[in-house]
Symmetry: C2
Subunit: 333 residues, 2 copies
DNA sequence: GCAGCATTTGCACACGCTTGCAAAAAGCGG
DNA sequence: CCGCTTTTTGCAAGCGTGTGCAAATGCTGC
C-alpha cells in the first residue's frame, strides 16, 4: 500500500519555515497571525495540498461540525425534498450532513443515534421514527442537540417542529362542504404517525362540527399503492363518498388514479380529492391536486438556525403553517 | 455551559478497574482481551453511557469510515432512489454516508470534494457534476477512492459505473419502428451530461441505421416542466412526430401530460412515448410509461463493494445493463 | 537609543483513541 | 513444583489539531 498519508500541519510548517502553531492559527478564524507569515503558510499549504484534518479539529474543539439526518423512505418525494432543503441550510451554516437510512428494521433509529454519538455529531435531525427515551437523554446529556420534524413528541429538550395539521384538516373540510360535497371520507395509511393521525382526527372532528360523518379507511404504508387500495375499499362501498381527504399526496395520487381509471369517476366533478405535502407530482397536469404545502425551506431554516445558535434558545417547539395550494381536484374555488 | 463532555475510555477504565488499553481493546474487533475483563468493561461502559469516539479512532487508524456522497437535485425521484440504495449498502458495510448537496453553483463539486478531504473520508461517490482533474488527483494521491456514477469520464483511478445507453437507445428505436411509427423524435434537456447525450446520439444513430431521421429538441433542466416545453416545440411542428424517446422519465411525464391534455393526443394510439430511469411515477396508472430501469441496487452494490475492497481491484470501469420495462406507452408488445 | 506597549510566535500540553512492546499472568506437560 | 509456551495486560508513544502562557518581536513617542 503506497498510502502516502495526508500532509499534516507539521510538514506545512517546515516548508514555510514557521512553527506548527502558526499554520494552525492561519486556519483558525480569529487567531493572531501576522499577514506575512499567514501568506507564507498559505503558499506552503497550497503547494503541498494541505487540508485541515477535521477529525482532529473536532477532537480538540469538541465540536465536529457534523449534523446527523435520520431518515427513512429517502426515495419518497416529500422526504427527499426536505433532505435537499436541510443539506442546503446546513452547508450554508458551515455544517455538514451525515445521512442515516433507517429503512431496515425498527429500533434502527436508536442505532442511528448511536452512530451520531460515535461521530460526536453536534446535533441530529430526526425525520422519521421516534428514538428511545434513554437514547434521547444520552444525546442531550452530552450536549448534542436534537430536532424532531413532524414527530409531535412531548418530551423536553429537543426542538419540535410541527405543522398545523388539525387546522388544515378543518379548512379542507369546509372547502369540501362549500363545493357541495356531502359524503366525506379520509384515506390514511396504517403508519399511524402523529401527524397523519392529527390530520385524520382533525378532519373527523371538523366534519362532525359541520354535522357529518366521515368514512375512514387505512391501509399499508404511506405510498401510491396504498392510495389505490384505499380507493378500492372506499369506492366499492354502498354509499360512495363524494370527497376524500388523503393523508398525503402520494396516497392522493394513487387514489385519483384508481378513481379515474378503474372506477371511471371524474375528478372533481364526481368526486373531490385533496392531499397533503404538495410534492412535485401534485402540480403535474395529470393530477392538479389541491393540497397543503409543507414549508420545507422554512422547516429547514428553523431547524438549522436553532442548531447553530450560540445559546440554547428557550422555545422548544415551533408550529408552522401549511398553505393551501388550490388546484383543480376540488370543485369551485 | 454545562457541557458535561462525553465520557472517555479513561473513565470507563477506572470504573471497571482495568487499564485504558483494556477498554480500547474491548471495542476493537480482533484484539486480545480475556472474557472476564471484557465483561467488566462492557458493564462499566453500559453504566456510564460510553461510546467510542470515531473521530479519535479515525485519526489513529487513518480510516474514518466516512464515505462522501456528492449529489445535486436530491429531490428528484431517480437521484433520491439512488441515494437510498447507496446509504443502505454503505451501512451494510459498516460505512457511513456524508451527504453534500451541490445544487448551488458549479465548481461546488470541487468544494464538496474538499470537504470530503477535510473529514478524511475513505471515499467519495459522485452522482452529478464532474470534479477538476487537480482535485481528483489530490483524492487519489491521499488514498481516497472515487466512484463516478453515470459520468462517463475517461480519467484513470476512479471507478466508473455506466449504463449501456446507446444499446438501450437502439432497442427503443426498433421498438418504435415495430409499433409502426415513422416519424421519430428525441426529447432532451440542455444539461448535456454524457449519459443524456449518449442516449440522444445512440437513438439518432440507430434511427439512421433503420433509414429514418430524428427530430431532436432540447430545453432547460432535466425535469417535468422541460418535458412540457419540449412537447410544445415538437408537437407544433408541421410534421408532428408519432414516437418520442425522452432522455429521462421526468421529461417523459411532462411530455405525455402536454401531449394528452394540451394537444389532446392519445398515448399510445396517436403517439408513442418512452423514457429512461424507471422512476416510481413511470409505473403510475396515469403514465404507464415504457422505460429503461436504472439498476440502482446493482449500482450501489458495485460501488460499495469496490470501495470496501481490501486490495484495489484492477477493473476500473463497470458497464451495467438497463432493462426495458414494457408498459403501455408504446403500441403492441 | 530606550522605556512602554501591543502584537506575534513558539513551546508544550491536551483531546481520545490505537497499538507495538515487554512484563505479568495463565496454562500445561512432566 | 518447574520450565516452557501462550495469552492477557499495562505502559507509553504516537495520530493531527487547538490554545494558554510566556518569551520574543515590532512599533510608538520621547
Amino acid at each position: 500500500m503506497s498510502q502516502k498519508l495526508f500532509v499534516s500541519a507539521q510538514e506545512v510548517a517546515e516548508k514555510a519555515g514557521v512553527s506548527r502553531s502558526a499554520v494552525s492559527r492561519t486556519f483558525t478564524s480569529g487567531a493572531s497571525v501576522s499577514p506575512k507569515t499567514r501568506q507564507k503558510v498559505l503558499d506552503a499549504a497550497e503547494a503541498l495540498g494541505y487540508h485541515v484534518n477535521h477529525l482532529a479539529r473536532g477532537l480538540m474543539r469538541n465540536e465536529s461540525g457534523i449534523v446527523c439526518l435520520i431518515v427513512s423512505e429517502i426515495g419518497t418525494p416529500y422526504r427527499s425534498a426536505l433532505l435537499r432543503a436541510l443539506t442546503q441550510q446546513l452547508q450554508n451554516s458551515g455544517k455538514i450532513a451525515m445521512l442515516i437510512n433507517t429503512d431496515r428494521s425498527d429500533g434502527s433509529v436508536d442505532l442511528a443515534l448511536t452512530q451520531a454519538i460515535r461521530y460526536r455529531a453536534d446535533a441530529s435531525i430526526i425525520l422519521s421514527g421516534l428514538p428511545d427515551k434513554s437514547i434521547t437523554d444520552l444525546c442531550l446529556k452530552n450536549g448534542q442537540r436534537l430536532v424532531l420534524i413532524n414527530r409531535d413528541d412531548d418530551r423536553e429538550g429537543p426542538l419540535k417542529i410541527n405543522l398545523d395539521d388539525v387546522e388544515a384538516a378543518a379548512r379542507i373540510a369546509t372547502a369540501f362542504v362549500r363545493a357541495g360535497c356531502r359524503k366525506l371520507a379520509f384515506a390514511n395509511s396504517q403508519a399511524g404517525t402523529p401527524s397523519l393521525m392529527a390530520r385524520e382526527h382533525g378532519f373527523v372532528a371538523a366534519a362532525k362540527a359541520l354535522g357529518m360523518d366521515v368514512m375512514v379507511e387505512r391501509f399499508g404504508h404511506t405510498g401510491y399503492e396504498s392510495g389505490r387500495v384505499v380507493a378500492q375499499q372506499l369506492l366499492t362501498r354502498k354509499e360512495r363518498p363524494d370527497a376524500v381527504f388523503c393523508a398525503t399526496d402520494l396516497l392522493a395520487c394513487g387514489f385519483m388514479d384508481a378513481a379515474r381509471h378503474q372506477f371511471s369517476l371524474s375528478v372533481p366533478d364526481q368526486i373531490c380529492v385533496a392531499g397533503f405535502d404538495d410534492i412535485e407530482q401534485a402540480s403535474w397536469t395529470s393530477y392538479g391536486l389541491t393540497t397543503f404545502a409543507q414549508p420545507v425551506d422554512m422547516i429547514a431554516r428553523e431547524a438549522v438556525s436553532w442548531l447553530v445558535a450560540e445559546t440554547e434558545p428557550e422555545n422548544h417547539t415551533v408550529r408552522l403553517h401549511a398553505d393551501l395550494v388550490w388546484r383543480t381536484s376540488i370543485r369551485g374555488g
